[in-house]
Amino acid sequence: MALVRVISSDGAAFLVSQRLAKRSGKLKTEIETFRKSSDNSEAQPEIRIVTIRAEILRLVLQWLQQHQNDPVLPANQNEQDGRGDAEMGQSQWDRDFLAPMDLGIVMELILAANHLEVKGLLDITCKLVESKITGRTVDEIRTAFKLKSDFKGNEEEQTRLENRWCVEN
């Protein structure tokens, strides 16, 4: 089985099958670039992902492994049939996968999925963050994201007014 070494920003190496890695658009391109530039067709590609740390990279690879037999979602799935990708792709396993995660981790996963071009993962993580914002009050959002208001003086009131004037358009 052809393998590829994927190395995180903090130096952790993951040995994964090329078939699995190629489900990420970014890794697929890197593997193909390596193949074109390498004289030895048997050589094992080594890809450094300098923006993703090991904990997050492990989660991405774990998600890819679980979904390795899924059809690859086109980038413009919605244009084809109007269905949201997340609706199509989210399974009980996905829900269990995301359930214990802190929203900070989820945000890192969104960035990683975007960088590695893993559309299915990007969709479900965005959907999760979306669910923490949609229909929630400002205080509920702050609680979900563990944030405190740091507005001073009348800044909060100013922001509220600015919003109102844009939304009223």
């Binding site: 450094r48 740390r53 994201f145 007014l161 004037w165």
Partner: protein, 530 residues
């Protein structure tokens, strides 16, 4: 002597040391100058930040010190800081929902389709950091300066382009805004985008008389000036619609508006004062040249071409700064709408959308100061008079001079079937080596001359039913395949193509825009990319 702070910098994104140095300085009252030494092969553990001139820095690895430095950093630097090493990441991980928002927000805005603009804007109320990040993203996207044809799917409230605007359509609304923002410090426009377009007559229980409407319009422009006097310097993008009947008074308001918009980067102006005689307009602008806007990159003008276009372009624009231009004349004005002389001085122009003649296009390629680095063009060869047939070879030959930069071409013209066939017979090859997107309106096939475009990814064609029938005889099987395009051999004939968009108008396109055509759309993506 130097002191080394261990393993701290990323290879690609370096922390802005100015912030950390200032912060350390504030904390320790000492002056520190830093420089980054990057090893040739990246390894986080071997990367060093050298702080020169110090023998000892006792707090180099004290978490509280770095957290203090971190708090004083800009959000972009905070993101980099958190990625430097696991130790630093752990220090700041409880705060990542705050500082990662900036990086995550554009992705979230385009992927999370269930979020409305209102809900996205709710993020501004959460904390200062989110508010600033939302505004930064909203105000600085390069796509905000694009012309409409470059961003065809985008609408004003399209979340993917994130434009939020402040629209003012009557005096009462402006008055209320000024009242609400009386004590506002700084910029009250989250998108730095305003629209001044009087159209909303307050309800008075009957139809307003003409003199009442005129009075309301005057009130509107008076208030608009008050608004701009107070906050105009914060605006980057403006839409202004001028309308007052049969008087140049509105041009005075326009003149004053621009005086209060010194930082404008994008201006869209619509002169709807059709009743004003041209000689009056000309005399007004000769006496009152409009103020120059030194940062204006994008200008989009609708109105009488002969005087208004020239007056605006000659006075307002700094020729070397203008990158995007749209000129649109409607109705009767289309019959005589030459490209103003000022445009030939815009030698840094990257995108243009205008009605043009083949002679003007040829001249445009040979302007003094060099050929403009055009990447996107939308040329309309129809002029409202009897429609002239265009020579396919001559049009594409004229575009070749921009071939080094041109990636997007949109042409509205009536190419004669003969001229396309002729191009085929003489083996004419379009020489636009970077062309990725081609839009042809009114094209009467065959498609064969397009087959050598090796970089073409998107082809958009609109034509009438009658015109489409003329495509028969082509080696590209297109006619008859409109509703099952996946079976056409167009994908083999143009191997780079990824998307075809077909619009078939049910009426003659030269009647547009007087009569809205009924359009049939057909989008098709290359099957292999599914």
């Amino acid at each position: 002597m130097s002191y080394l702070i261990k393993e701290k910098m990323m290879r690609d994104k370096s922390v802005t040391l100015a912030d950390s140095a200032v912060a350390i300085e504030e904390n320790f009252g000492e002056k520190i100058k830093g420089r980054i030494e990057e090893s040739a092969s990246f390894d986080a553990k071997k990367e060093y930040l050298e702080v020169a001139g110090y023998h000892h820095f006792p707090a180099d690895n004290v978490q509280e010190v770095w957290e203090n430095v971190f708090e004083k950093m800009a959000n972009n630097d905070k993101i980099t800081f958190s990625k430097v090493c696991s130790e630093w990441h752990n220090w700041v991980s409880p705060k990542r929902t705050r500082f990662l928002f900036r990086e995550m927000f554009p992705t979230l805005a385009s992927c999370a389709e269930g979020l409305s603009i209102e809900e996205l804007m709710q993020c501004r109320k959460i904390c200062k950091s989110w508010s600033q990040d939302f505004d930064h993203e909203n105000q600085t996207r390069p796509s905000h300066l694009l012309l409409d044809f470059e961003n065809p799917e985008a609408t004003q409230f399209d979340r993917t382009i994130l434009i939020v605007s402040n629209e003012f359509n009557n005096a009462k609304k402006i008055k209320k805004f000024l009242q609400d923002m009386k004590s506002h410090q700084g910029n009250p426009f989250p998108g730095r985008y305003i629209s001044l377009d009087f159209y909303k007559i307050p309800k008075i229980g009957r139809r307003a008389r003409e003199d009442e409407r005129l009075q309301l319009k005057r009130e509107f422009w008076g208030k608009a000036l008050e608004l701009l006097e107070a906050f105009g310097s914060h605006v980057y993008k403006a839409y202004i619609r001028l309308e007052l009947p049969e008087t140049t008074e509105v041009y005075e308001y326009f003149h004053k508006c621009l005086l209060h918009l010194p930082n404008l980067k994008s201006l869209r102006v619509n002169d709807a004062c059709n009743g004003i005689p041209l000689h009056q307009t000309r005399a007004f602008y000769q006496r009152n040249p409009l103020p120059q806007l030194p940062q204006l990159e994008t200008i989009d003008i609708t109105g009488p071409p002969q005087v208004f276009w020239s007056s605006v372009l000659e006075s307002v624009c700094v020729p070397a700064v203008v990158k995007r231009l749209r000129l649109f004349a409607c109705g009767e004005f289309r019959k005589d709408a030459p490209i103003p002389e000022a445009v030939y001085n815009f030698h840094n122009l990257e995108a243009i959308d205008a009605q043009i003649s083949i002679e003007e296009l040829e001249r445009f390629g040979n302007v003094l100061g060099g050929t403009p680095p055009l990447t996107a063009v939308a040329f309309d060869f129809r002029n409202g008079k009897q429609e002239q047939e265009q020579d396919f070879v001559r049009v594409f030959k004229s575009l070749e001079v921009f071939g080094g930069s041109l990636t997007h071409v949109k042409i509205e013209a009536k190419f004669s079937h003969y001229s396309v066939q002729h191009a085929l017979e003489i083996g004419f090859a379009i020489n636009l080596p970077k062309l990725e997107k081609l839009e042809l309106h009114g094209f009467t096939g065959p498609l064969d001359p397009l087959c050598q475009l090796g970089t073409l990814e998107c082809l958009r064609i609109s034509c009438s039913w009658r015109q489409l029938e003329e495509w028969q005889g082509s080696t590209v099987d297109f006619y008859g395949f409109e509703w099952r395009m996946e079976d056409s051999n167009v994908w083999e004939k143009i191997p780079s193509i990824q998307k075809i968009h077909l619009e078939r108008c049910s009426i003659r396109i030269d009647k547009f825009p007087c009569e809205m055509p009924k359009i049939y759309h057909r989008n098709m993506l290359r099957l292999s990319s599914k």
